[in-house]
């Protein structure tokens, strides 16, 4: 048994951390938070130039073909830096859809650009509010000879304002035979994008309105829902590592502040109420790390346990990041509630990632179904 990352993977993690310390410090994150740019284009391109975006993408499509363990350590560092880049939408989701179900032409067209940081892709699935189910998808697809056209509205699409293409879930008009997936270029006619305000302005979102927009089928017709679930299992592990990185950093920020802030003539970190709060944050982050390693193992080996492992990592990392981010503010006291301090960057990101690809309760359900099936087996 070897339940750890290899020396080379740890070295890669160090390299990514140094790169991000240089190119994605708080000034860089705040430029996106406070400014008009939707994401940090130079950073995105820089990540692509170093091969960090193409870890999982085969060499034939411009990636490194390195593997998922490498992608996990990169995701962790991006989460730690609250990097304002479209990693989860482009790499954890769009690239995975293409690799699992894309045609050769679709892969050849988009994967090299995603790997290079020259394109942004995303998933446009959810409509309205509430849990996403097959029945909640109202967007329709109509075939006109050789082409398909989509009509419908998708809410809160991550990077929907800047993405070059989206994987769109829709049902055939008059159909009812199950969800199908389509690839839609968002710069084309019949697509209206409206940026929306979210809890985390460092990761832009938009509403997408399709009105007879041209689309290409992605994967077999009517099998979209199953495909989404398979991609979610993969994306969940990568996003869990982002959450883990964020949780660790929020814990460190709280610890550092507790050491430097004095009250009652002593560092507040010597008060048991503060110590115990930080110890509990450490417990959450440690449980999440161990569960994420389980997810990384299952993802990298193509294990049949991936659905269990992904749900385990996702639930644990979501809880840990939310716990550490909210208590980091608590340790900072009033200063933690200011725009000036960075605590809110983590609080925002933790709550954004908690509901991306399905909220915590959805993943709790997935986990319980896996455990029940395993028990019955």
């Amino acid at each position: 048994m070897e339940f750890d990352f290899s020396a080379e993977q740890k070295q890669l993690k160090e390299q990514v951390r140094r790169f991000l310390a240089d190119r994605c410090d708080r000034t860089a994150v705040r430029r996106i938070l406070d400014g008009p740019e939707p994401y940090d284009k130079a950073l995105w391109k820089g990540l692509g130039d170093l091969g960090y975006l193409g870890a999982t993408i085969p060499e034939a499509y411009g990636g490194l073909g390195a593997g998922y363990l490498e992608a996990c350590v990169i995701a962790e560092e991006l989460g730690r830096a609250v990097a304002p880049v479209p990693f989860s939408s482009s790499i954890a989701l769009a690239a995975e859809f293409l690799m699992l179900a894309g045609s050769d032409a679709q892969k050849a067209r988009w994967l090299p650009k995603l790997a290079a940081g020259e394109a942004v892709g995303t998933l446009a699935l959810a409509e309205g509010t509430g849990r996403v189910t097959p029945a909640s998808i109202g967007a329709t697809a109509v075939r006109h000879g050789e082409t398909v056209r989509i009509t419908g509205t998708k809410t809160a699409v991550a990077d929907g304002d800047v993405a070059d293409f989206a994987i769109v879930g829709a049902v055939e008009a008059g159909g009812g035979r199950g969800l199908s997936l389509y690839l839609v270029e968002l710069g084309g006619a019949g697509v209206v994008r409206t940026p929306v305000v979210t809890v985390d302005p460092t990761r832009s979102h938009a509403q997408l309105r399709f009105d007879d927009a041209v689309a290409e089928p992605l994967g077999p017709a009517h099998e979209g829902w199953g495909l989404v679930q398979r991609v979610y299992d993969r994306a969940a592990v990568l996003i869990a590592f982002e959450q883990l990185g964020g949780a660790d950093r929020a814990l460190e920020m709280g610890r550092d502040y507790a050491l430097e802030r004095f009250a009652f003539g002593r560092p507040i970190g010597s008060l048991q109420a503060i110590k115990h709060m930080l110890a509990d944050m450490y417990v959450s982050a440690t449980l999440a790390r161990s569960n994420c390693y389980y997810g990384a193992w299952a993802l990298s080996t193509g294990s049949a346990e991936l659905p269990d492992a992904a749900a385990t990592a996702r639930v644990s990392a979501t809880q840990a990041f939310q716990h550490c981010a909210r208590n980091n503010i608590q340790v900072h006291g009033g200063m933690g509630f200011t725009w000036e301090f960075d605590c809110h960057l983590y609080y925002r990101r933790s709550n954004l990632l908690a509901v991306s690809i399905g909220a915590l309760s959805t993943w709790e359900d997935r986990l319980i179904e896996c455990l029940r099936a395993r028990r019955a087996a």
Partner: protein, 414 residues
């Protein structure tokens, strides 16, 4: 990142499995599976005798204290082999609970500080379960503040004379030997005046009184010493170095990594998959599912945290501090799960009567035992202090007795 056995590990696992299959007391299996937490009670007979029989058989087959050197009764196995053994031994490991403290804590302390003669005399029968050991540390006034203990050892020629009282001594009533932490110098600060010994529990001057616990059982004892005489050659470490020696003992807790501490989750999942609330199966209730998910990821998190430590050990590294979370997480989870199971059972949740309750009232037994898990071997609060100070590097607690000679430390009576 790899969970699979290497060929050597697979071979070892097959060997262990075959031996267990041929030698384990299979007639006890069903009862052990249903047994609650802590030391199991066997309706079919004397649990200590059954435990000693299993331990002796393991020793004779070369499967006791796997990581100990062979000359002391072990197998000289690697950390990974030890874990594989634990996985294969499974439910039968419950039979070895009377030996956990002796083999997990007293043995390693003896290995580090006893003379070779004593090691060769005492470690093999400790490994075989023929001699049981206990750990005499806590006192009525010295629990979390262990270094504040009072039991006095005074030099008398080549002997020491001990007077005082210990408490919460697990298994003292069936132990043959024990390691004993005493105060030998009350005139210096509390950590500097302690000395460690090992003692024969059958010596004159020792009186053992069982403590009746919340759950009605009596696993713990009070132990009184009246002019107990200990030869100086049974001292472990130098005079005044007892605190350092005790840290070796306690450090071994971190290294004695098993399959992770029980949280009660598999038992609760079983209940929820089979229990009809009147509104369908419990597991189909969204509120139940959410709680189950939280306890599931805590349980798996503990398991994989232990795996990470094992990986470090197998590479010859010292495991990181991550394993310090084990008991802290497991204790409160056990208690929460027990309370939740009773809640699911509704008014019948009060029943502990084995004649009336399915599954022998295991959650009720868990409920009544779980408060101890959160206290013994370091309270939740002490564990949080340890994580905060040793892992996160936060300042130590401010102490009113810092640097003060022991005999001048304020107490309730002075």
């Amino acid at each position: 990142m790899n969970f699979d056995d290497t060929p050597q590990e697979a071979k070892f696992r097959a060997e262990a499995r075959a031996w267990i299959d041929a030698n384990a007391p299979k007639e006890l299996r069903a009862e052990l599976e249903l047994a609650g937490f802590g030391q199991p009670a066997l309706r079919s007979g004397d649990v200590l005798a059954a435990g000693k029989a299993w331990q002796k058989r393991k020793k004779d087959g070369g499967w006791a204290c796997l990581h100990w050197p062979k000359e002391y009764g072990g197998r000289g196995a690697t950390p990974i082999e030890r874990v594989i053994w634990q996985q294969e031994e499974g439910v039968y490991a419950k039979l070895s609970s009377p030996f956990l403290i002796g083999q997990g804590m007293c043995g390693p302390t003896m290995m580090a500080f006893a003379s070779e003669v004593h090691k060769l005399r005492h470690l093999p029968p400790l490994a075989s379960g023929e001699e049981v050991w206990c750990q005499l540390f806590s006192e009525p006034v010295a629990g979390s503040d262990l270094a504040g203990l009072r039991t006095r050892a005074e030099k008398d020629g080549d002997h020491w004379v001990v007077n005082g009282q210990k408490i919460w001594t697990s298994g003292a009533h069936y132990s043959d030997f024990g390691i004993l932490l005493t105060r030998t110098d009350p005139n210096v600060p509390k950590h500097d005046g302690l000395t460690m010994f090992f003692i024969d529990m059958k010596s004159p001057g020792i009186e053992i009184r069982p403590i009746k616990q919340v759950n009605g059982a009596s696993g713990f004892n009070e132990v009184y010493f009246t002019d107990l005489r200990i030869p100086d050659d049974k001292r472990l470490g130098a005079v005044g170095q007892g605190w350092k020696v005790s840290l070796t003992t306690l450090m071994n807790e971190r290294l004695s990594i098993g399959a992770g501490m029980p949280t009660g989750f598999p038992e609760l999942l079983d209940l929820c998959c089979t229990f009809d609330t009147g509104n369908g199966l419990a597991i189909d209730d969204p509120g139940v599912r959410s709680k189950l998910a939280t306890w599931a990821v805590r349980t798996s998190g503990l398991r994989y945290t232990a795996y990470r430590s094992i990986s470090a050990l197998s590479k010859g590294e010292i495991p990181g501090p991550e394993n310090s979370i084990g008991k802290l997480v497991a204790g409160s989870t056990l208690q929460e799960i027990a309370m939740f199971a009773l809640d699911l059972q509704g008014q019948a949740g009060v029943l502990m009567d084995p004649a009336l309750v399915e599954a022998s009232g295991r959650f009720q037994a868990m409920l009544m035992r779980s408060p101890a898990t959160r206290i013994e071997g370091g309270t939740d609060e002490i564990l949080r202090n340890i994580i905060a100070e040793r892992v996160l590097g936060l300042p130590a607690d401010m102490r009113a007795d810092r640097g003060m000679p022991y005999n001048q430390i304020p107490t309730r009576t002075k």
